[in-house]
């Protein structure tokens, strides 16, 4: 009854990534939009607050991360919308391959086209914001770990709102509270890298959280980076499942 299969999930995964990258390449003028948005938002702050380098150095991590957040939010819409409108999403749900794998492929392709360009532009913008030179490596680390989390968590939000008429505003409300821990952790890490504070001994030895803090206070920002990595792994494993379930519901 069941025909012989000669393709597995990996082939489908790579085929979807290839397809999405092909689509992005074919409309490569649109890839530049999130980057432009990123640059514009970053340039709003010095104009609005103060161009004084001393002030900018302190708030540079926050500016870059808020801009990355908003650019990511804006670019989420084209993750599923075109597929939803021409029926390709239904076909993906109907394929015998696990939907989670196909969704994972789409999110990875989306990050390559929207998150990766941000990584390339961020150091330049950090330089214009007079970010402390010590903090550049931590900035890149938090961006490399954090922007995929934004793509994964945002995918859940866009999967829920893709079928709604005016889902754009609702998407922001749903997804931004989930983004906030990432924002706070990343900013704090970069600020601490810029101006480190002395390590502290654990308060009550025994609770294992304190041991983690104690071990990681060799470099004070590394606790935040470990937490970010844990969130990334949580997102990679669980977000595709939640997104697949949300897509099925949106397509009812």
């Amino acid at each position: 009854m069941t025909p012989k299969t000669n393709k597995n999930g990996l082939t489908a995964f790579l085929a979807i990534i290839r397809r999405d990258l092909l689509l992005a390449y074919r409309y490569r003028a649109e890839v530049i939009n999130p980057i432009l948005y990123f640059i514009i938002i970053v340039s709003l702050y010095p104009l609005a607050i103060s161009p004084d380098p001393k002030v900018l150095t302190k708030i540079a991590p926050g500016i870059i991360w808020v801009a990355a957040l908003l650019a990511s939010l804006l670019s989420l819409d084209n993750l599923f919308r075109s597929d939803y409108e021409d029926g390709t999403l239904e076909q993906m749900l109907m394929s015998p391959h696990p939907t989670g794998i196909l969704v994972l492929a789409k999110i990875v392709a989306h990050w390559i086209t929207t998150g990766l360009p941000l990584l390339l532009v961020a150091p330049v913008l950090a330089y214009t914001l007079h970010l402390d030179p010590k903090a550049y490596s931590v900035l890149m680390i938090t961006l490399i770990i954090g922007t995929p989390i934004l793509s994964f968590v945002g995918a859940i939000g866009i999967a829920l709102t893709v079928g709604l008429r005016r889902g754009g505003m609702l998407l922001s409300i749903l997804v931004l509270p989930l983004f906030l821990p990432i924002l706070v952790l990343s900013s704090v890490a970069i600020q601490l890298a810029a101006s480190p504070r002395p390590a502290i001994a654990p308060i009550i030895p025994g609770a294992w959280f304190d041991s983690v803090v104690y071990l990681t206070t060799q470099a004070p920002y590394s606790a935040a980076i470990y937490t970010l990595s844990a969130l990334l792994i949580l997102a990679i494993t669980l977000a595709p499942l939640a997104t697949a379930a949300a897509l099925r519901i949106s397509l009812r």
Binding site: T2, P3, N6, A15, E90, M94, R252
Partner: protein
């Protein structure tokens, strides 16, 4: 009617299907069954629930009550095997307008688990798309886009075809091509479920029909 080719085993069966949408009950206690080599035409007015029934068959929506049975087993237990043998071409055709004909077919090939029944070049020839092979679908007419969508039917060996108004935008040649496809598929022992209210001209195939809607949601004429 090729009786000797028809197997007596019921392959697909629907029992007690009830579906409501936005608090409107579209149909209630619907029953039908399908054997190999049979074709089912779902008829009904616009908005009567034809598309909803087809989507239920694809497991894209869930019924309020009732279940489907595939080779006698409840569908949710054998969903994997079922999806391998079903192809669905719905209202929105499921092809990417920004890609070329060949790229679209390549992707469908990669997404399916089976090897191709017919090579892609041959499929393109059969559907008369040879000179538009490398054109982006945006630039083609609606009829040509529909042909690309229907080309999937020949790509892989699938038992059950679920088609929602497949003949829209097709010209006479396209229609006759489609009908010859139906014929070929049925004679090979496949099953087709079509939602359309236009008559289907096929030779030698008995078409069951299911009427949904009208005044009473339970009225379903079945012959």
């Amino acid at each position: 009617m090729s009786n000797n080719q028809k197997s007596t085993q019921i392959i697909l069966q629907a029992r007690n299907l009830t579906y409501e949408r936005n608090d409107n009950e579209l149909f209630c206690n619907l029953n039908f069954s399908l054997r190999a080599g049979e074709m089912l035409q779902v008829k009904g007015a616009n908005g009567s629930g034809k598309t909803s029934l087809l989507r239920l068959l694809c497991q894209l929506s869930l019924p309020e009550e009732g279940a489907f049975f595939w080779y006698g087993e409840e569908l949710k237990h054998v969903i994997h095997q079922y999806l391998r043998e079903v192809i669905y071409i719905g209202h929105n055709q499921g092809v990417k307008n920004e890609l070329t004909v060949r790229e679209n077919l390549n992707i469908f090939n990669a997404l399916s688990e089976q090897p191709t029944k017919t090579p892609i070049s041959q499929v393109i020839e059969i559907f008369g798309l040879a000179e538009h092979e490398d054109s982006i679908l945006h630039r083609l007419s609606a009829g040509q886009k529909r042909r690309v969508a229907l080309a999937r039917l020949l790509l892989h060996e699938k038992k059950l075809w679920i088609l929602d108004e497949p003949q829209t935008a097709l010209d006479k040649i396209g229609l006759s091509l489609l009908e010859s496809l139906y014929q070929q598929h049925i004679h090979q022992g496949g099953m087709i479920i079509i939602a359309t209210h236009q008559p289907i001209n096929t030779v030698g195939i008995h078409i069951k029909s299911l009427l949904i809607g009208e005044s009473d949601p339970q009225a379903a004429v079945y012959e």
